[in-house]
Amino acid sequence: MKNDVMGIIYTSKDDLALRELTSQRAVAAIPVAGRYRMIDFPLANMVNSNIHNVGIIAQKNYQSLMDHLGSGKDWDLHTRNNGLFFLPPFTTRDNNGEYNGIMDALRSNFDYLRRSKQDYVILTDSDYVMNTTFDAMIEQHIKSKADITLMYQKVTPAITEFSSSSKNNHVYMGVDADKNVVGLEVNPNAAAYDNLFLSILMVKRTLLIYLVDQAISRGSHDLYADVLIPAIQANSLKIMGYEETSYYRRVETIRGFFNLNLELLTAEAAAALFDANPVFTKTRDSVPTIYRGNAKVTNSLVADGCVIEGEVENCVLFRGVRVGKGAKLKNCVIMQDSYVEDDVELENVIFDKEVTIRSHGRLIGQAQYPIVIGKNITL
């Protein structure tokens, strides 16, 4: 059954702490968990919530994202009405290809918002992995007659560890017993609240259009400082919180990215991220993975299309990775089509796509500071 809800996925540009992986792509396009890109998770959450009109707001370096999403057919979003709308920036007087935050981005895509027919919008960032549906939030939002519902999660050591060294948009919310949001703080040094806003919100489409227009026409761009916080203070909008308890990891730093991938080697994390609902991704028609006679692969996630002849322990291997004879890999994240030749030794290393390391090479990183080798480099 179709929902009366549309989705908008914002692909942000706050990527300084991930620059080794984002020099040629958006954060949303970073490969993760063996065969996915970051955006597959918010997109799967939309599709699994029967949301069939999804806009992707792209900016800067969106080529790899566009290539990944295509017509949306791998997500069953290539329908006649609705479907996937890729919204690239176009340079105009007020837009140089980079947005000044999400309000600015929405202003630039006003026509898409206006033309869509759904009553509600779910707006989300794309720098996290989570596998859930929005069904319960949608139900709460409609029943409670809220103007805006913000999704949050209780802060646990795990989430904060993943995001600790960067403070991009760490928004904490105070929520009372009736789920009303009573306060918001953005990037506090010492947070007063322990509810982390997950950068996912639900709002009526016409209200969103109104709010964006009001803000931009007054020269304000900040969703929090200019829209949400004043509304909470003036009690002018009914803003509610929705608590989400699914496994959630935001990727803001290289270390966080590394830890997330290795955490997926535990049964609990893998089950939470992979099994709750199907996660769709671009089909590649890879052949199955081949393990040769000397292969020794333990505690690892391996995608299709790999050929493994060496030893692999605690690793995530993406599609089409080759590991030569006598090679030893430990605690590594090796992306698509990389080639580890014979007798190479790697520990605590991240390879971006299409990296080749020649025979007898040796790279040993620290668990806290993994070595990252950029896309298409031969060592």
Binding site: A33, G34, R35, P288, T289, V297, L301
Partner: protein, 396 residues
């Protein structure tokens, strides 16, 4: 509408009874092969790779699995607004309605379908073989020689030639004689069941064949002999690459094992000739802390905690800790529980091999477990035996 130069008709209605329990609930072309494929992926991918964009799939026996697998044809890029893949089951008309009585009759009943595209040539395929073939080259040969029919042939070892349809040709590759399963073959060129007809000629012969009450309505038994009798221009097109009939449990097992060679005779990895298939939406495969996986092929959704040697595992197969799988083919969704041993066996989809059960032996014929069978704990299946839920119920 714009006419199509060549369309393909894929005969997928056969039961494949020599595959025993494997084809009890699905037609032979739907049988899984090679870790993530089904037999029908090979002719369909060959069509896509040969730029043949219109394919009629003739179904009859147990079509459900095949129909849902083909769907809109999207995995093979055959979801088009003009052309694409069409599933063609037998149908009723105002006056009558009947099953496809033979391969030729199946095409005869779909003359209307073919006429829609007004093709010059029709490619007839079967869904029984594993091979990669450029049909376009065969079509070029057919057109160059102005042939009425071109039959793909393949040299087979002389000792097995008596089990094939054998084509005797002259020096110019003209077919001068056809012998179905001859005791003393004069040639070792076996028909691959791949034909290109000039549509005008085929239509005429299908109509004549249908009018003949004594005909078996079969290409090999009736249509081709009639063409020979009329001295039509018949060309043999020789194909020398890998081509394997997977019509028996032993040959299906063998073809899967062929893929595990270091330099396999049949290479699935060629980027210029990809084999497409409908991908299950599943996470990457996971190998546990004590897993041993060697000389094997695994795909998405597999989880291995035990030992897997020289085997092919399909999507979502689980091998628990302490379980051993050797020289076997485990089809999608099967679980091998702790302490169970599977050797020289094919286990069909969604089976559970319970703790300490034993399937197959080190020597002897291949053991087979039919679809969705749960083998009881400690149950023993001997080499060459076939077991499924009904068989288990019969024993109880």
């Amino acid at each position: 509408m714009k006419k199509k130069k060549c369309i393909a008709m894929l005969l997928a209605g056969g039961q494949g009874s020599r595959l025993g329990l494997l084809t009890k609930v699905m037609a032979k072309p739907a049988v899984p092969f090679g870790g993530k494929y089904r037999i029908i992926d090979f002719p369909l991918s060959n069509c896509t790779n040969s730029n043949i964009d219109t394919v009629g799939v003739l179904t009859q026996y147990q079509p459900l699995e095949l129909n849902s697998y083909i769907g809109s044809g999207q995995p093979w890029d055959l979801d088009m607004s003009y052309g694409g893949v069409y599933v063609l089951p037998p149908y009723m008309t105002a006056k009558s309605g009947e099953w496809y009585s033979g391969t030729a009759n199946a095409i005869y009943q779909n003359i209307g379908f073919i006429q829609q595209f007004d093709p010059e040539y029709v490619l007839i395929l079967s869904g029984d073989h594993i091979y990669k073939m450029d049909y376009n080259r065969m079509l070029t040969a057919h057109i160059e020689r102005n042939a009425d029919i071109t039959i793909a042939v393949r040299p087979v070892p002389w000792e097995v030639a008596p089990s094939f349809g054998i084509m005797n040709t002259d020096a110019d590759h003209n077919i001068i004689e056809f012998e179905e399963k001859p005791k003393h073959p004069k040639s070792n060129l076996a028909s691959m069941g791949v034909y290109i007809f000039t549509w005008k000629v085929l239509k005429e012969y299908l109509e004549a064949d249908n009018a003949d009450p004594n005909s078996k309505n079969d290409f090999g038994k009736n249509i081709i002999p009639s063409l020979l009798r009329d001295k039509k221009n018949m060309l043999a097109y020789e194909f020398a690459d890998y081509w394997k009939d997977v019509g028996t449990i032993a040959s299906l097992w063998e073809a899967n094992m062929d893929l595990l060679q270091e330099n396999p005779e049949f290479d699935l990895t060629d980027p210029r000739w990809k084999i497409y298939s409908r991908s299950p939406v599943m996470p990457p495969q996971y190998l546990g802390k004590n897993a041993v996986v060697q000389n094997s092929m695994l795909t998405e959704g597999c989880q291995v905690f035990g030992t897997v040697k020289h085997s092919v595992l399909f999507a979502g197969v689980v091998v628990e800790e302490g379980a051993v799988v050797e020289d076997s083919v485990l089809m999608p969704g099967t679980t091998v529980k702790a302490g169970a041993v599977v050797k020289r066996a094919i286990v069909a989809e969604d089976c559970v091999i319970s703790a300490n059960a034993k399937v197959g032996e080190d020597e002897g014929d291949i053991a087979l477990i039919g679809q969705a069978t749960t083998l009881p704990e400690g149950y023993v299946v001997k080499a060459g035996t076939q077991v499924d839920t009904d068989a288990l119920r019969g024993e109880a």
